[in-house]
């Protein structure tokens, strides 16, 4: 095990870097897209709500791998050439944004309706009350579930290995097939994943307890 680490630490750290980069990029973009669809789902307009729901239900119910492979195979063939890392990150973003939309929507709906009524009665427009009164409170509530989404995102980013995304899982496979020491290679990769995910999910549990 120590042998593998001392000979291949560069690849492993590289993989960890790509994994983190892809997770952070996907988190950032899926927060934006997810919040957008979450707000659509609570708008008074029925059309907006239906569009929001369709987006969420479609991408929540299709496997991440299918979405990722679609971007890896189909988009380069017909639209624009993208590499595995980009395709993987786009897939992750779209998949996660559906889950984030659900989380944010339930956050918005858990805010007492009186908040909106109160804000409106002081003369704010719908968008102003959303922006200054409802969303700040909603985002506070959804911080722990969003943290859990990030943990899921780090785990899910392992699909990048399917599309040659140079992430941790990909490097782990390379190690396993070059050193033939599959057990230790995968153990090291597992430890590296845990270094990110375990503290994060313990911290989120702690936050949840503190807020409850």
């Amino acid at each position: 095990m120590i042998n593998i680490i001392s000979n291949h630490w560069e690849e492993l750290l590289n993989g960890l870097g790509w994994t983190l980069l892809s997770s952070i990029l996907a988190l950032f973009f899926s927060l934006i897209i997810g919040s957008f669809f979450a707000i659509m789902e609570v708008l008074p307009s029925k059309t907006a709500r239906v569009i929001g729901q369709i987006y969420v239900e479609i991408f929540r119910n299709i496997p991440l791998l299918v979405i990722t492979m679609f971007f890896y195979l189909v988009i380069p063939m017909y639209v624009v050439k993208i590499n595995g890392f980009t395709a993987g990150t786009i897939g992750l973003t779209i998949y996660t944004s559906a889950f984030i939309a659900e989380t944010v929507r339930s956050g918005i709906q858990s805010i007492d309706i009186g908040q909106m009524e109160g804000a409106r009665s002081t003369g704010m427009t719908y968008w102003q009350s959303m922006r200054y009164i409802i969303l700040p409170q909603a985002f506070k509530i959804v911080i722990p579930p969003l943290g859990n989404q990030f943990v899921n995102l780090v785990k899910n980013s392992s699909v990048l290995a399917f599309v040659a995304g140079f992430d941790l899982m990909y490097q782990g496979n390379m190690l396993a097939s070059t050193t033939f020491d599959t057990i230790n290679s995968y153990l090291i990769v597992g430890l590296l994943y845990l270094v990110i995910t375990l503290p994060m999910s313990y911290y989120m549990q702690h936050l949840e307890k503190k807020m409850a």
Binding site: M77, T197, L198
Partner: protein, 218 residues
């Protein structure tokens, strides 16, 4: 358009449906196994037995925080080095069960925690043993509360079986890949068909879970 008509020939559709069958089979077997194992682990973690609960809890946390793909790789490529070589489908079921048991254990534990403490105290004071109280009083109430969480776990399990395509399990994704591997024009039709199949199964289950939930509450 012609691509779609060619791609959805009877043979191809039957081949895809066979893949869907394997997907459903793996998911159902894994969910049953991990329901049993997860319940046991969840109860152990909840009961606070000296050392044992802490150790079980730590193992659950580790499994929950690892990528499923890594566990699949480890089962299929790692275990043979330890002298145990499972076939593809058993390897997929084993990996899924290990991962899902940890997930379900947490659901079970939080389900039990959601049952008011007075229920346990009340049944203990009527002379029931701890296990009797657990079995007859606490668990039935806890499982009722858990149904939505367990169904959504099952849905993500069905989606996750697509990862098993990497160890060449003949499931839906794998079969779709075989078909479009023969003819690149079939790529889009296959992605559409595959997505529709996954969607119908997963969305159907989530509707079912909503229905059950409404029934229980009413």
């Amino acid at each position: 358009m012609q691509n779609f008509i060619d791609a959805y020939s009877f043979i191809n559709l039957r081949f895809l449906l066979m893949g869907l069958g394997v997907t459903v089979f793996i998911s159902v077997v894994s969910v049953i196994l991990s329901f049993i194992l997860g319940s046991i682990l969840g109860i152990i973690r909840y009961t606070e037995i000296k050392y044992l609960s802490k150790i079980v809890g730590f193992i659950i946390d580790i499994m929950r925080n690892l990528p499923l793909l890594l566990i699949i790789f480890f089962t299929y490529f790692g275990l043979p080095n330890l002298g145990f070589k499972p076939d593809t489908i058993p390897a997929a079921i084993l990996a899924m069960t290990v991962f899902e048991s940890a997930m379900i254990a947490e659901i079970v534990r939080s389900g039990i925690l959601a049952v008011p403490k007075g229920q346990m105290e009340g049944s203990r004071s009527t002379g029931m043993t701890y296990l009797q109280a657990m079995w007859y009083i606490i668990l039935p109430q806890a499982y009722k509360k858990m149904i939505p969480a367990i169904v959504s776990q099952f849905i993500s399990l069905i989606k996750d079986t697509s990862l098993a395509t990497i160890i060449v399990v003949p499931e839906l994704m794998q079969h779709a890949q075989i078909i479009y591997g023969q003819n690149a024009n079939f790529i889009i039709p296959m992605f559409v068909a595959m997505s529709v199949m996954y969607f119908v199964v997963c969305y159907g289950l989530s509707l079912l879970s909503k229905g059950i939930n409404r029934r229980i509450k009413a």
